[in-house]
């Protein structure tokens, strides 16, 4: 007759022993290993032409309305920056509300430092730079997520699982481009998704469609005949902050050295 202690001991051992292969089976499921070898025919890429952008901000407005980012909240999945470089070599830049309402004043909005008026005669060059998530090939934001709430799809888009994100904010700190923020309602990490729900249905992202000047374009980098792919291959284009090794997939025509 087994003593109670021995019984408890043996039960614990058996249970523990069973847990190990059960867990292993989960991790080594055949379907999972299959998925590791999946080869996608699509790799989404983006082309921004800074010469064409006029700073109207229709892209920002369209993005907010398409993707349910509260209009009044000062966070956005995409934004436009204005750069004004003057003859004395000074650097000026702003992005009021992320250019949600466009740029309707020649004065720069410098937040706590107020409005800055610049004499138009003193302007050497001034231009607008639209920005969005670069859907990096080596996304540092995905690398630092502690729970696997953010990830990259096989076609290259980085998404966030709103049901799993714990809201630690590590991915927001890890993004060198400032593309991420906390959604004011869902309280999970949020970022541009290239309008994944649209592009997987053959539509354009809201910002691409809204731009009246064709400053934004989406393409398939795996298709050699795609206009975006051709432009990247044949024209002089640049990416943002390549020194971080993130391998961004948003390419810029006419990216000035002063752009941050």
């Amino acid at each position: 007759m087994m003593s109670r202690r021995d019984f408890l001991k043996k039960t614990a051992l058996v249970l523990g022993g069973v847990m190990v292969p059960v867990t292993a089976l989960e991790i080594l499921k055949p379907e999972r290993l299959q998925a590791l070898r999946a080869d996608e025919a699509v790799r989404w890429g983006f082309l921004v032409d800074t010469y064409k952008c006029v700073g109207c901000g229709f892209c920002v407005k369209a993005c907010k309305l398409e993707n349910g980012i509260p209009y009044e909240a000062d966070v956005t999945r995409t934004w436009v920056e204005r750069y004004v470089l003057t003859k004395d070599g000074a650097f000026h830049a702003d992005s009021p509300l992320g250019a949600r309402d466009g740029f309707t004043s020649p004065e720069l909005d410098l937040n706590e430092s107020g409005q800055l008026a610049i004499d138009p005669e003193q302007i050497d060059k001034a231009f607008f730079v639209p920005k969005l998530c670069n859907q990096c090939a080596n996304p540092p934001c995905v690398q630092v997520c502690p729970v696997g709430a953010t990830y990259q799809t096989p076609d290259g888009v980085v998404l966030v699982d709103r049901t799993w994100c714990i809201g630690c904010g590590y991915c927001i700190m890890a993004c060198p481009y400032g593309a991420r923020f906390f959604h004011p309602t869902y309280h999970t990490a949020e970022k541009c998704t290239f309008c994944y729900h649209r592009i997987t249905d053959g539509l354009s992202p809201a910002c691409v469609q809204a731009c009246p000047f064709g400053a934004r374009q989406l393409g398939n980098l795996k298709d050699p005949d795609d206009p975006v792919t051709r432009a990247i291959a044949s024209e002089h284009v640049a990416v943002l902050k390549s020194e971080y090794g993130t391998k961004p997939q948003v390419f810029y025509v006419g990216l000035d050295w002063e752009v941050r």
């Binding site: 202690r5 830049a93 060198p176 309280h187």
Partner: protein, 420 residues
């Protein structure tokens, strides 16, 4: 209005999504785990290396370390936007992230400290359990205690000499095992910041080392402070008790703080303090020498808006002044108290200057952000991530320690015949 806009002031060119996302609670978390790690290392110095003069403080440090552990969880729970999902870190850990290490390291460390506490107090649990069991009429409180002690024995009532020697051996092994784990617990916190290449101030391989060393500094300082406080309170209580009972006091004379213990602990504190200062200065010197792209804005933030926090409060008040006070020969308890409080303040400011300082300049390298700690809250976020939340985090371990010391008494017992 996003909650983060409540406490962030932005200046010049800042990206639209940039706010101070990691606030006071993220400053509190490494500070609390630093106290945990440091207290544990101090306790282990006695149990592993047998430094007899630390015997008086060793048990105290161990229980304090154990009380601080659940308290270290609180800043994280207050910071998370979805605290109930915090368990996801244990369920689907993504080990490429330093924060995922939290689940494993914290649990391991918890298990080690809990086990060590169990081995140290096992005899106390057994004797108390037996005592209460034998009592014919028990109050409700005594019934609760009796049940608690019975559970805490984990079913073993063996207090033979052999068993007690095994306890000592187990304690030694656990203390030894716990030292690297305690270092890892704090090293990974440093890695969380040091590995973020996007942040020009955080990104340095020195970060984990700086964090570990300053954690040890804070742990030793905290233990010393708590030791002095508790010893003085004990002396006060004993004196009051003796006065009411009359002159026939029994047991040992409660002498209060032993200067010898304070002086030896202070020596270790000096060593680690010097090490911590050297590492931080090394970091600053390297940055200014190499002057990479971000250096201009980091320099203007550190020497400009953050000057008071970095040079006056942290380096000056928090490092230099206490170091001088401790180095002056003939250390008195009073001077030790002042030094230790300043050291703790300095360590706190170090955490502050890393977390908040790293967010004091924009990713554009052409703008600044100022964190305004919410004092009078006007929303739940302002409570959680404000002064009230911070004070709660600091007082919680002390409350926990008080209740824990009812079950695990931290001072040598006055009953005759018991040596530990």
């Amino acid at each position: 209005m996003v909650p983060e806009a409540l406490w962030t002031l932005r200046d010049l060119f800042v990206l639209p999504n940039e706010y101070v996302y990691w606030t006071i609670q993220i400053v509190m978390y490494p500070f609390m785990t630093g106290l945990v790690a440091g207290a544990f290392v101090l306790s282990s110095l006695y149990h592993v290396f047998g430094i007899e003069r630390l015997k008086g403080i060793a048990r105290f440090a161990l229980v304090l370390s154990f009380a601080l552990l659940p308290a270290a969880m609180v800043p994280l729970l207050l910071h998370l936007q979805h605290p109930l999902r915090g368990v996801n870190v244990l369920m689907t850990p993504h080990f490429t992230s330093a924060i995922a290490a939290f689940g494993i390291v914290f649990s391991t460390y918890f298990a080690i400290v809990a086990s060590e506490v169990w081995f140290v107090y096992r005899r106390h649990f057994i004797t108390q359990s037996l005592l209460l069991k034998e009592k014919p009429h028990r109050t409700f409180g005594e019934k609760v205690y009796s049940f608690a002690y019975a559970v805490l024995t984990l079913g073993s009532y063996d207090i033979s000499e052999k068993a007690l020697r095994t306890d000592e051996k187990a304690t030694r092994y656990l203390a030894a095992l716990g030292i690297p784990v305690a270092l890892f617990l704090h090293g990974y916190a440093g890695f969380i910041f040091g590995s973020v290449k996007a942040n020009a101030l955080w990104m340095t391989p020195l970060m984990p080392v700086i964090f570990i060393v300053s954690a040890i500094v804070s742990g030793i300082a905290f233990c010393l402070l708590a030791y002095i406080a508790t010893m003085e309170i004990r002396k006060l209580l004993a004196r009051r008790r003796r006065a009411s009972e009359g002159a026939t006091g029994h047991g040992e004379e409660i002498g209060g703080v032993e200067v010898g213990v304070v002086r030896i602990t202070a020596r270790y504190l000096i060593v680690f303090l010097v090490l911590a200062i050297s590492l931080e200065l090394l970091d600053v010197v390297f940055r200014s020498y190499t002057a990479v792209k971000a250096w201009d804005v980091v320099k203007s933030a550190v020497y400009g808006h953050e000057f008071r926090q970095v040079f006056v409060l942290q380096y000056g008040l928090g490092n230099l002044v206490p170091l001088i006070l401790l180095l002056i020969p003939g250390l008195t308890v009073r001077r030790a108290i002042v030094s230790v409080i300043l050291v703790l303040f300095g360590v706190f400011m170090m955490r502050w200057n890393v977390v908040i300082g790293g967010q004091s300049f924009s990713l554009t390298l052409a703008g600044y952000m100022e964190y305004v700690l919410p004092i009078v809250p006007d929303s739940w976020e302002a409570v959680k991530e404000g002064l009230i939340g911070a004070l709660g985090v600091v007082t919680f371990p002390l409350v926990l320690f008080f209740f824990l010391s009812r079950v695990c008494p931290v001072f040598a017992p006055t009953e005759p015949g018991q040596s530990r």
